[in-house]
Amino acid sequence: MIHFSVWYLVVGVLGFLGLPFIQYLLPNLKDKGYSFSRALGLLLGSFIFWLLTSFHILQNDVGGILAALIIFVLAGILISRKKPINAFLEVWRTGKGYILISEGLFLFLFLALAVLRAANPNITGTEKPMELAFINSILNSPSFPPADPWLAGYSISYYYFGYVISALLIKLTYVPSGVGFNLMVSLVFALTGVGMYGLAYNIITADGIQNWLHKNKTTKSSFSTLLLPLFAPLFTLVISNFEGLLEFFHARGLFWTSNAEGLLESGFWKWLDIQELTQSPIQPFSWVPSRPAGIIWWRASRVLSDYNLTGSQLEIIDEFPFFSFLLADLHPHVLALPFAILMLAISLNLILSPKQGGFSLLGIEIHNTPIQFIVNTVLLGGMAFLNTWDFPIYLALFLAAHLLTRIARQVRFREELLKTASLAVLMVFGAVIFYLPFYVGFSSQAGGIIPSFIFSTRGVHFWVMFGPLLIPIFLCIAYLVIKPRQWSGLGKATLISLGTFFLITLIGLGLGMLIASAGQWLDGIPGQLGAKLKEAGNVFVSIQGASEASSLQLFKIAIGRRLSAPGTWVTMLLLGIGITKLIITWLPRKQDDYQLQEQDTGFNPAFLFYLLIILAGIFLTLVPEYFYLRDQFGWRMNTIFKFYYQTWIMWSLAAGVSIYFLWVGINGFHGVVVKFIIVLVVAGGLAYPVIGIAATTGNVKISDLDLDGTSYMRRYNPDEAEAIEWLQQAEYGVVLEAVGGSYSGYARVATLTGQPNLLGWPGHESQWRGGGEEMGSRQSDIETIYSTPDWQEASSLLDAYTVNYIYIGELERSTYRLDDDKFVKNLVSVFQNNSVVIYGYNPEESHP
C-alpha cells in the first residue's frame, strides 16, 4: 500500500508541476490538456533524463532524475509564464466537475489494476522476464545506453524508452523493481483511461459541437457532458472483443447438436473457425466457460487465423488492451499507450487551432508556435523510441490533422499535400536527431514490406474482433448521414471510397503478382541482381505455402478468398463511404465558408477529428489486408498485431464519442432502441473481462495480495532467492549462468539482479539484432566453462568474457555436465547456501 501511495503521490506531483507545460502545448482543448499532464511529465522528463545521461551530462541516479525533472518543470514555467498553481486554478474555475471525475477515474483505475496485479503478481512467463531484465539493467547501468542484460558487453538493441520511464519512477520512489513492474502496469492502465476520458471530453465539448447540439435542440446537460465520455475509457480498457461472449455460448452448448453417433457437431462453430471453439464443449453444458487443457482467456487474442496454400494455420495475434493488461506484459505496445493518447490530443489540438496564428517553416505554414512544434517533434520521435510501430501511425495522423487544418483554411489541395510531405520529412529528420543516441546503437529485424497476397481477414473474424466498437460507430455514422436527409455527396463519396479501395487492392495484388512472377520472368537476366530477384520471388511464393504455383494461380486464389469472405472489406467500404460523405458535406470549400459552415452545419474541427480517427482505423485495418512488414516470423502476424492494436485505440475513442452523440442526439422510441443496443454491446464486450479476471485471480484472498512480482522466488526456491538478493547488493559485474530457450526459467539471475549475463535467451537476442553475429560462440563457451575439467581452458574463457561471478544453482547442474572441482580448487566462493554457490572471479589478474 505504501508503494502504491508513493507512486500515486509522485506521479500526481509530476502531473501538477507539468500543468504549465501541457497548457502551453494544448491551449485549444477545453481542459487545456489537464488529463494528459501526467503522461507529458513522464515522457518529457524521461526524455530529458535519458538524453542528458546518454551524453554523460547527468548521471543515472536519483540526482540525475531530479535534475531532469527540475529542468522540465522550469521549462514549463518559463515558456508558459505560469506557475503550476495558477495553471491548476485556471482549469479548476471552469471545470471542477471534470477535474474531480478525472482524478477519481485515475485513482480508481490505478487502484483497480494494482489490486488485480496484486492477486496475480508473478513476473514469469511470456515476455515478462525480458521486460524485468531491461528494467533492472537500466536501474543498474552506470550510464546510457544501458547494458544488454542478456548479452554482456553490448547495449540494449530494442526500443527501450518505456523501460527508461519505468526505471525512472522505480528509482525515484525507491520501490523494488518487482513491485515497480506491477505498479507500472497499473499506472499505464490509469493514464490510458484518464487520457481517453480527456480526449472524448475535449471532442464533445468543443464549441462547434455544443452549438450544433444546442441548435438541434438535442438533450444535453453537464451530467451527460461529464459522464458520457467515460464510455471512451470503458471501450478502450475494459470492453473486449466478442470472443468472450462466444465462450459463454460455446460452454452453454449453443448451436451444438448430436449426430447419429451421439457426437456433438456444429456447422456454426465450424464455419466460425476459431480455434478451440471448433471442438465440442464439455458436458454437461453450463454458463461457466472452462478450458481444462488450456488457458481460457488466451483465445481472445488469437481470433484471426491465416491459412497458407497447404492448409497450415498461421497464428495471428489480435490483442486488445484489456487482454494486454490482464496478461500484464510491460511490452512496448502497452507502455506506449498513454503517450499514443497524448499524440491524439496533440493532433486534436492542432485541428482545433484558431484561424490565425502559427508560424512559417521553410514556406510551410504550421499552426503551432515554434516551441510547440519542437516539443511535438520530440514527443512524436518518442513514439519511435517507445514502440517503433507507433511512430509512422501517429506521424501520419498528425500530418493528416495538419493537412485538414490547412485545407479548412485554403482549399488548394495539391499544394498543401506537397507541403505536408515536406513537413513529414522535416519531422522525421527532427525526430531522428533528437533520439540519435538510440538510433546509433539500434539494429532492426525488419526485412522490408511485402504484399499480403493470399492472406486476408474473414469478415466474421473481423466482426468478432471489432464488433463492440463497430456497432456504435456504424450507428452513429448512419445517424449523422441519414438525419439531415441530404443525399448530395453520397455518390461522390461512394466513388471516392470505391476508387480508393480498388486502387489499394490493385496495388497490393498487382505487386504480389509481380513478385510471384519474378521467378518466371527473370530467368534470363544474368548476374547477381537477377538471381536475387528470382530468389525473392521464390521465397515469396513459398511464404504463400506453394512450392510451385504460377502467379496467375496465386492471383486467382487471392481474389477468390477475398470474394468468398468479403465481410472485412465490405465493412470498411461502407464505413469509408459514410465517413467520406460526411467529410465532403462538412469540409468548407472556400475560406469564407469556414465560419458560415461552423454555424450552419455544426462543422467543427472536432467533428473532423472524430471522422479522421475512424478513417485512420479503416486504413490501419485495410493495410494488412494487402501489405505487411516482413520480420523473423515471415507472415503478417506482427503487422496485424500492431495495426489492429492502434485501430482499437482509435475506434474505442470513436465508439465513446459515438455513444455520446447517439445518447444525446436520438430521443423518443429510437433513442430507447439505440440505448438498448448500446447496453447489449457493452454487456457482450464485458463477457471476456469476467472470464479473464475469474481465471487469473481464482480464489485469492485479500491477505494474499502482494504487488511484488518476484516474491514467488522466495516461496518456491528460497535458496535461489537468497543468492539473487546477495547478487543484487554485490558490485556490478558479469554473471555466468546457464543458457536455455525463450520463455523459460533461464537467464533468471540476470533478469532479477540487473547484473548482465553472458547470454540470456538466444532467440530473443537473434530477433533484436537481426541475427546471431554478436552472440558468436557464447552458448557453447558457457557450456565449456561449466563442464570442462581444464581450469586453464575455463579461466581463459572467463577472462575473455570478463566474468565476475560464476553462478551454480540447480538449473546449471541439470543443464550441464558440471565439473565444479576446478572452481573449488582455484576460486573462493563469495556466497553459498544449500543449493547455490557463487564463485567470485577477477578477470583483470594476469595469469602466468
Binding site: F55, H56, I57, L58, Q59, D61, V62, G63, G64, I65, L66, A67, I70, P142, A730, E731, K825, N826, L827, V828, S829, V830, Y839, G840, Y841, N842, E844, E845, H847
Partner: protein, 567 residues
C-alpha cells in the same frame, strides 16, 4: 562594513581571535586519517585528477573545489580538508558584516564564539562538511539585506550546489521563517535588522539569471564536469535518506552533548533569547524560532547526531553574543570588586573541578558527593557574602565574568580536543562514527615493505580481499590497491589485507600482523561515572575491529616463495 570603527583594543582582540581560528583550523589538519565518509568523497575526485570519469556524490561544490586543489597540489588529507577549513574560517569573519545589526561588541564576541565553537571546528576539519553551506547562507543573507542583487544571486547559486548542508541549513530556516510569519510579534522598537526585509529581489530577472548561471557554470566547473549537475539534486536525496535511516544517537545523548560541547552557547543563548523575546526584539524572536526549529528537527530526526547542533550554532551563538556584549561594561567603582569576585569564582570552581577529576575513579562515592555539594555550597555562601558586603550587581557581574572566563577556557579546551590537533585518535561524542586509529601505521608498514623490497615507496602490490573501506582505499591510494571479493590463490599476491574471519587460509607462504582498523565507542552504555571520566580525562572503553596485513614470506629476508599454495 567598516572595520576601522573598531577601537584599537577591539582590533587587537579580533586579530587574536582570527589568528587562533586559523591555528585551530589548519594546524595538523591532515594528521588524522580520513574517515570512511571523508574518504568516499575524496576518492570521488581522485579520478578527476587522472582524467577519467567520476561518479558525483551529493557534495558538488566541495568536490569541484577540492578537485582543483588536487590538481594543483598533492592529494593529501590536508588538501582534502582545506576547503571546509577555509569556509569555516570565513565564518569567523562574517560577524563583522553584521555589526550594524547586532552591535560592534557582539560581533567580536560572535567571532570569538565561532572561532572556538567545537561544532564549527569539527565542521571545519571534516572533508565535505556543511561549513560551506553555513558560510554561503550567511553571506547571501548579508548581501540580500544590503540589496546586492547579482551578488546575492551568485552566492545563492553557490549555496544551491553546496551539498547536503544546503538542506540541513535551509530546513530549520524555512520552518523558523514560517513560524515567525505565523506568530509574528508586533514590536514597537527594532533591535537589529531593518524594519522590513525587502523580498522584491526575488522578482528580479537579474537575480534569477545570476542564480542559474552560478549553478550551471560553477556546478559544472565551466562545463568541464557536466555530470556534476546531478550531484545537486542528489544532495536532497542524501538528506532525505538520513531521515529514513535509524542509527542516530538517542535524544538524551544529544542533550548531553549539547551541554558538554556548547555550555556557553546554551546558557547565554537561552538567556539572550528570553530577554530578547520579552523585549520584543524581532531579531531575537526570529533567532529563537530558528534555534527551536533546529533543535526540534534534530530531535525528531532518526539519524540525529550531536554535530547536527552546528546547524543551530549561528542563531544560538548570535543570541549569546548579543547577551554577553551587554555585560562586558561595568561602572568604574564596581570594576575592582567585580573582578575580585570573578577571580574568586574562577579559583573556587577550578578547585572544585580538580576535586571531581581526582575523585572520579575513587571508590569513595561519598567523598565525590561531598566535593560536589560542598563546592556548590561554598559558592552560594560566597555569593551571599558579597551581596551583603558590596551589592547584588557586583556579585552578579563577578559571577558572570567568572563563569564567562571558565566557560571560555572550557570551550577552548573542548575545541582543542575536538580538533584533534594534539592527540590522534581521541574519541569524541561529536564524532561518534568509527575511527581508524592505526591506518597511518598500516600505511607506514606497507611503505617499509615496499622500500625493503623495491627500493622505493608505492611500488608493491596490495590486495584487499573480502571487504572494502573507503578510508583504507584512500590511505593506500598510492599503491592502487586491488579490492576483490575473493582472491585467486594461484596468483603471486604480495601484500594482502583481510578481516580476521576471512574464509581463506593463505597458508605458510604468508606472514600476518593484525592492526586495529576500526574503533567504536558504545556511548549508550555509559554510566554517570563513565561520562565524568570521559569529560574530564577523555578516557573511554572502545571496541576494536582489526584487520590482518599478510605479507608474502619471501618479502622478508630468508623467506620462501614456493607456489602454488596449498588450499
Amino acid at each position: 562594513m567598516n572595520l576601522v570603527q573598531f577601537t584599537k583594543k577591539q582590533q587587537v582582540v579580533f586579530f587574536f581571535i582570527l589568528f587562533m581560528a586559523v591555528l585551530i583550523r589548519l594546524l595538523n589538519l591532515g594528521r588524522a586519517p580520513l574517515s570512511d565518509a571523508e574518504a568516499a568523497l575524496s576518492l570521488q575526485v581522485l579520478p578527476a585528477h587522472a582524467g577519467s570519469s567520476i561518479t558525483w556524490a551529493g557534495e558538488p561544490l566541495y568536490l569541484l573545489l577540492t578537485g582543483i586543489l588536487f590538481r594543483l597540489f598533492d592529494q593529501t588529507n590536508f588538501i582534502a580538508r582545506t576547503i571546509p577549513a577555509l569556509f569555516g574560517l570565513g565564518l569567523v569573519f562574517l560577524p563583522l558584516l553584521f555589526q550594524k545589526q547586532i552591535g560592534r561588541l557582539a560581533a567580536i564576541v560572535l567571532a570569538g564564539f565561532l572561532a572556538f565553537d567545537p561544532a564549527m571546528i569539527s565542521l571545519s576539519r571534516t572533508a565535505g562538511s556543511g561549513a560551506i553551506a553555513l558560510f554561503l547562507v550567511s553571506l547571501s543573507f548579508w548581501l540580500f539585506i544590503n540589496k546586492r542583487t547579482i551578488a546575492t544571486g551568485i552566492i545563492c547559486g553557490l549555496f544551491l550546489i553546496s551539498g547536503t548542508g544546503l538542506w540541513t541549513v535551509l530546513t530549520p530556516l524555512l520552518v523558523a521563517g514560517g513560524l515567525y510569519w505565523l506568530f509574528a510579534v508586533r514590536i514597537t522598537k527594532s533591535q537589529g535588522t531593518a524594519s522590513n526585509l525587502d523580498f522584491s529581489i526575488y522578482k528580479q530577472r537579474t537575480f534569477w539569471l545570476a542564480v542559474v548561471f552560478s549553478v550551471i557554470l560553477t556546478g559544472t566547473l565551466f562545463f568541464l564536469y557536466p555530470q556534476a549537475l546531478s550531484a545537486t539534486p542528489s544532495s536532497l536525496v542524501d538528506y532525505l535518506q538520513v531521515w529514513s535511516r535509524a542509527g542516530g544517537l538517542p535524544a538524551k545523548l544529544i542533550w548531553l552533548g549539547v551541554v558538554i560541547y556548547f555550555p556557553a552557547g546554551i546558557i547565554f543563548g537561552i538567556w539572550g533569547g528570553i530577554r530578547g523575546v520579552i523585549g520584543h526584539s524581532r531579531l531575537a524572536v526570529f533567532l529563537s524560532w530558528w534555534v527551536l526549529a533546529g533543535l526540534m528537527l534534530i530531535l525528531i530526526n532518526p539519524g540525529r547526531q550531536v554535530l547536527d547542533v552546528a546547524w543551530v550554532s549561528i542563531p544560538l551563538l548570535t543570541l549569546a553574543s548579543i547577551e554577553l556584549a551587554r555585560h562586558f561594561k561595568s561602572p568604574l567603582e564596581e570594576l575592582l570588586p567585580s573582578a575580585g569576585t570573578a577571580i574568586l569564582v574562577i579559583t573556587m570552581i577550578s578547585f572544585f573541578y580538580l576535586s571531581v577529576a581526582r575523585l572520579v575513579y575513587s571508590a569513595d562515592q561519598k567523598q565525590l558527593l561531598l566535593a560536589v555539594t560542598g563546592g556548590a555550597a561554598i559558592l552560594i555562601i560566597c555569593a551571599f557574602l558579597i551581596i551583603m558586603g558590596w551589592s547584588q550587581s557586583i556579585a552578579g557581574r563577578g559571577f558572570l565574568w567568572g563563569l564567562m572566563a571558565l566557560l571560555f577556557v572550557y570551550s577552548f579546551s573542548t575545541a582543542w580536543r575536538v580538533s584533534g590537533i594534539s592527540a590522534e585518535g581521541q574519541v569524541e561524542l561529536i564524532r561518534p562514527q568509527a575511527s581508524h586509529p592505526q591506518l597511518a601505521l598500516i600505511n607506514q608498514t606497507v611503505q617499509e615493505v615496499s622500500r625493503w623490497n623495491r627500493g622505493g615507496s608505492n611500488q608493491i602490490n596490495v590486495t584487499v580481499a573480502g571487504f572494502d573501506s573507503d578510508a583504507l582505499e584512500w590511505s593506500l591510494k598510492n599503491y592502487n590497491p586491488e579490492f576483490s571479493i575473493s582472491i585467486d590463490r594461484s596468483q603471486m599476491h604480495e601484500l594482502v589485507l583481510t578481516e580476521p574471519d576471512y574464509p581463506v587460509s593463505l597458508g605458510d607462504q604468508f606472514r600476518g600482523q593484525d592492526f586495529i582498523f576500526e574503533q567504536t565507542v558504545n556511548w549508550q552504555d555509559f554510566s554517570g561515572l563513565d561520562w565524568i571520566a570521559w569529560i574530564v580525562h577523555r578516557k573511554v572503553i572502545t571496541t576494536n575491529n582489526s584487520i590482518i596485513l599478510w605479507a608474502r614470506a619471501d618479502l622478508f629476508p630468508g623467506g620462501s616463495s614456493e607456489l602454488p599454495l596449498q588450499p
